[in-house]
């Protein structure tokens, strides 16, 4: 396997995982700021442990599933997942729904934990750890799914995993060094790009699962991505509300 062949899987997994890692970090930092690093760290570590168990348990099963069934199942899930992201990113870019703001998410999570502190002081460490655990599990499952979707069946699991681990490591180091949410990451632009990529992978995989011989084979993914980009930009223009910010 050459770097040129592995680069699309690696970079797609890196960018997708970056967004998920930023969202998980925001909640873990909110927990840490309210209750300290112990419950935040324990919750996050338990979440990571569960993810490792899931990957170790399900990973070997992937080889036993017939390829067309794997392609069709993951393709459909990718379409649901990618087009959901893309729809939201289009509506945000058009000003129909507000942009996701990590600072606001951090403030909301912190306020909720403080409110829980007021009501259940004795159980708060447990509740705080659970919030951290849930964030890591949910966002982590998205990362695992993205890695499988991009890498499985094409022999690209290793580069996709490297991309995902690099993104999570980078976000963790940056977040823990700064001790605040990574609000300057252009999250909607990343989600827009990732939504396009995942939807393009989804069309390719679903088609292959149905027996469609795409012209150009894997290169067709680039054509699908270009089509999704053009249509998504047109959809932003179609849905744009007055005073909406242009896509950064």
């Amino acid at each position: 396997m050459t770097w040129i062949a592995a680069a699309p899987a690696l970079s797609a997994a890196f960018v997708s995982s970056l967004v998920e890692a930023v969202e998980a970090l925001t909640i873990v930092l909110a927990v840490a700021s309210v209750r300290g690093w112990r419950p935040a760290g324990l919750g996050a570590a338990a979440g990571l442990a569960l993810l490792i168990v899931i990957v170790l348990a399900l990973g070997p099963l992937l080889d036993r599933v017939p390829l067309y069934l794997l392609q069709l199942t993951i393709g459909i899930l990718l379409l649901l997942f990618g087009m959901r992201w893309l729809r939201k990113a289009i509506l945000r870019a058009a000003g129909v729904i507000p942009l996701h703001d990590e600072t606001t998410a951090f403030a909301a999570e912190t306020a909720e934990l403080r409110e829980q502190a007021r009501r259940h002081e004795a159980r708060l460490d447990w509740l705080a750890g659970l919030a951290s655990f849930k964030a890591v599990v949910l966002e982590g499952l998205e990362v695992v799914f993205i890695v499988i979707a991009i890498g499985a069946g094409r022999g690209m699991l290793v580069p996709a995993s490297i991309g995902a681990v690099a993104a999570c490591g980078l976000v963790a180091v940056a977040g823990f060094a700064m001790h605040r949410p990574l609000a300057r990451v252009p999250e909607n632009t990343l989600k827009f790009a990732v939504g396009i990529l995942l939807s393009a992978f989804g069309v390719s995989w679903t088609g292959e699962g149905l027996g469609v011989p795409w012209p150009g084979e894997d290169l067709a993914i680039l054509a699908f991505a270009a089509l999704f980009l053009v249509v998504a930009l047109a959809a932003v223009a179609l849905a744009r509300r007055p005073h909406a910010q242009a896509l950064p």
Partner: protein, 68 residues
């Protein structure tokens, strides 16, 4: 118990956020699958339905959300 329900809700939310979008995507895939079965000699017809269908569903859903 609430935490587990919350987690399961979050898990389904990974794939389904807008029910109409999810149903429309599944309908497009089903249509492409039926075409692939009925026209095995023209497999690209199913591919074309899949591509055009997904793009159309996206635009229609966004336009509908913008009108709301």
């Amino acid at each position: 118990m609430n935490a587990i329900i919350d987690l399961l809700h979050g898990l389904t939310g990974l794939f389904i956020d807008d029910g109409a979008l999810a149903l429309a995507i599944l309908a497009v895939v089903l249509l492409a699958a039926v075409l692939a079965l009925l026209l095995p000699g023209v497999p690209l017809a199913a591919g074309a339905v899949l591509v055009v269908g997904c793009l159309s569903v996206l635009v229609a859903n966004v336009a509908q959300a913008a009108r709301r």
